[in-house]
Amino acid sequence: MTTSSLTIGRQTLAALRIFLVLTVLVGVLYPAAVWGVGRVAFHDQATGSQVSVDGKVVGSSLLGQQWKGAQWFHGRDSASEYAGDVSGGSNLPATDKRQQDAVAAREKALAPLGGNPPPDALTMSASGLDPHISPAYARLQAPAVAKARGLQLAQVQRLIDDATKGRVAGFLGDERVNVLQLNLALQQLSGTK
């Protein structure tokens, strides 16, 4: 055997050993340690920020859902209809005819609500699981929801105000309304009325 092939053989053996040792360290011990921290200190977050009603899981506060019917606030259109086991957006640019048609269709569908739909109402999110809408989109839907449920507009608007979250730490991100939490509050209001 020549010296160089001997070198390559030795190096490969060292590579194999060190690869396996590092795999145990960062592929087993590290994720297990983070998992342990999650179990002990952040159980809710680690398991998906689940939302329960009467002890039954009805969703996650981080995941949007598909809402049908005038009695609910609707989230943004989703490329995957909020299935949860797939994620992603339309990937269409504004210059694409298919995108222009989709936006026109959304404008048409939202026309009965009156007013100018905000951007999030006319577009799809990146994840297809966006749990939020803008406060403007919630307010746009409020009259129709109030009517469908026989509630007063002011009551519904108060729910929106309560559900509106400001920017994180006052400056990060955007104002938003969590649709699942808003609809749960709505259901509770209707139920107790």
């Binding site: 969703g59 966006d130 803008s134 990060l172």
Partner: protein, 548 residues
């Protein structure tokens, strides 16, 4: 508070945090790679693996070690991906052979291009034991090679450039692991999941059904960003609420992406014994990062005056500014994670992300690869300046002779050749074209983006392209492999050539490489090389789309 003020404050906090951290972290990195003491755990490693930590390698031996480690990584990860349906926690996940080839190359080369969807293509076991391990070690290889080049520049006629196994081990144990752990806990607290139970299907209050996914995401998310890897646990990557639940975690992730690449110039300055040298390099990186941030943010802001507000492919909780900041940072490094869909960006916004990659990802670039890429630009800059004034080009007392400039020039043309030849070939192959979402200028951008992303080891995509087919999987795989290791071996050869030289004394005639003027020269060289190479392609893609 207006969107603009919020956006500017976000950028301000990020820049302040990076400015505060890059000095201590850069100094720490310098100590890590010069210390002659091993931690107890490292000594156990070396004994177990039969490595003599005190031996220093010549560049050729160092390159053989990198190659051997790569081959072992490729074989192990490829086998894991091919066998995943027979292993525990499979839950129906499987891959075609060509997808597995593409994916294993992708993660070993620090690219993390994904032609599979995370939810269905890779099992929890494979993600944690295969993909996340490569997120650590591929990043460590990048850091090791950058350190080797610095050693070559700083060496006084020694001929050796360090020990790869020691550099690899220390990069993982002393740098990536502790920072990733802290990052993972912060992300976990912010809402990123870390759970091994099976995904559950729940009934919603309207009687519908939804799957709530699970997985060891927080631990993988932290190293995905810190190691500038970018491969998402889920298909939607950092746009998925389980990977990036809110605007705070978004900022943390951007910070993790940038923190090591922006700290390594300081390490460079320390190791060559002149901190100003590092400052000149970080100035070059920061200038171009800022300039491209202005371009992308401006383009998206301008687009947001339309009724759709540039919100297609963006999340409400993040908004336009933070998304543009993420897009700029992920493409200026070799990360490729996305918190918004780049294909839905305005032509100039998406073109800006593409340009970041075409610059060669040196602003600040991937962990390690960004620094060695920037140092090659510095070598080109002293060479061109030397030609202009008629002096022998030198950097840090080392002559840039025929051998050195040949390596640097070859380094510079490898990726552009892969990008342009790869894109052109794909556009005449009907099977590749069948995967395209768009036609016209945007279609060209889509394909150009794919080959730019693969060849520069970025991994982000104009994701409308359906890349999971043999032609694209194999050619993009080849681009990733050549685009990673050919430049890397050229850098090691360069390190060896510099290490063999004596250090020449600085004279009146030596061109200083620590001044703002030199940073400017580097900016000029980077723009010139990229412009000459890619302007025709950019004109037919993003520019044509913007003007039409």
């Amino acid at each position: 508070m207006s969107e603009q003020v919020s956006g500017l404050l976000t950028i301000g906090v990020l820049v302040l945090a990076l400015a505060a951290v890059h000095v201590p972290l850069g100094d720490y990195l310098a100590r890590v790679f010069t210390s002659d003491r091993d931690l107890a755990v490292e000594r156990a490693f070396y004994r177990l693996c039969g490595v003599d930590p005190r031996s220093s390698q010549r560049w050729s031996r160092y390159a053989v070690s990198v190659g051997a480690f790569t081959v072992v990584s490729l074989v192990f990860l490829g086998a894991l991906l091919m066998m995943q349906q027979h292993l525990p926690l499979a839950r129906g996940a499987s891959m075609d052979w060509h997808t597995a080839v593409n994916t294993s190359i992708s993660f070993v080369t620090n690219t993390n291009w994904q032609s599979y969807a995370g939810e269905s293509g890779a099992s929890a076991l494979v993600q944690t034991l295969g993909l996340a391990v490569q997120n650590f070690v591929s990043a460590a290889v990048g850091i090791a090679v950058a350190i080797a080049l610095i050693r070559g520049l700083a060496a006084r006629h020694t001929g050796t450039i360090g020990n790869f196994w020691v550099d690899l081990t220390r990069a993982v144990v002393r740098v990536l692991l502790p920072i990733a752990f802290v990052g993972a806990v912060v992300l976990l607290a912010g809402g990123v999941i870390q759970d091994l139970s099976a995904p559950q299907t729940i009934s919603t209050i309207t009687g519908g059904h939804q799957t709530i996914e699970s997985g060891l995401v927080a631990s993988q998310e932290a190293i995905k960003e810190l190691g500038t890897n970018g491969g998402g646990y889920f298909n939607a990557n950092s746009a998925h609420p389980f990977e990036n639940p809110n605007a705070f975690t978004n900022l943390v992730e951007i910070f993790l992406i940038l923190v090591i690449p922006f700290s390594l110039p300081r390490t460079y300055g320390r190791l060559v014994g002149d901190k100003r040298q590092g400052l000149a390099v970080v100035g070059f990186m920061a200038f171009l990062w800022t300039a491209m941030l202005v371009v992308i943010t401006w383009a998206e802001q301008a687009a947001s005056t339309s009724p759709t507000g540039a919100m297609e492919g963006k999340e409400v909780r993040l908004g336009v500014w933070a998304s543009a900041l993420f897009a700029n940072s992920t493409t200026a490094t070799s990360t490729g994670a996305v918190d918004s869909m780049h294909e839905s960006y305005s032509p100039i916004g998406g073109g800006g992300a593409l340009t970041n990659m075409l610059l060669g990802e040196i602003t600040p670039g991937g962990v390690g690869s960004g620094l060695y890429g920037a140092l090659v630009v510095a070598i080109l800059a002293v060479f061109i300046a030397g030609l202009m004034v008629g002096r022998t080009p030198e950097i840090l007392g080392k002559q840039v002779g025929r051998k050195e400039i040949t390596y640097a020039a070859l380094y510079t043309i490898v990726t552009p050749a892969l990008v342009l030849v790869g894109t052109a070939a794909a556009l005449v192959v009907s099977k590749a074209k069948a995967g395209m979402l768009a036609t016209g200028p945007h279609g060209l951008s889509e394909m150009l983006y794919a080959y730019a992303s693969a060849s520069n080891n970025n991994g982000s995509a104009f994701a409308g392209l359906t890349a999971d087919q043999p032609y694209l999987n194999l050619t993009l795989g080849a681009c990733m492999l050549i685009g990673r290791f050919l430049p890397m071996f050229l850098v090691l050869a360069l390190a060896g050539a510099f290490a063999a030289q004596h250090q020449r004394p600085t004279t009146e005639g030596t061109m200083p490489t620590h001044t703002p003027l030199f940073s400017g020269l580097m900016v000029g060289v980077a723009l010139l090389v990229t412009g000459l190479t890619f302007l025709p392609a950019l004109a037919l893609g993003p520019l044509a789309e913007a003007l039409s």
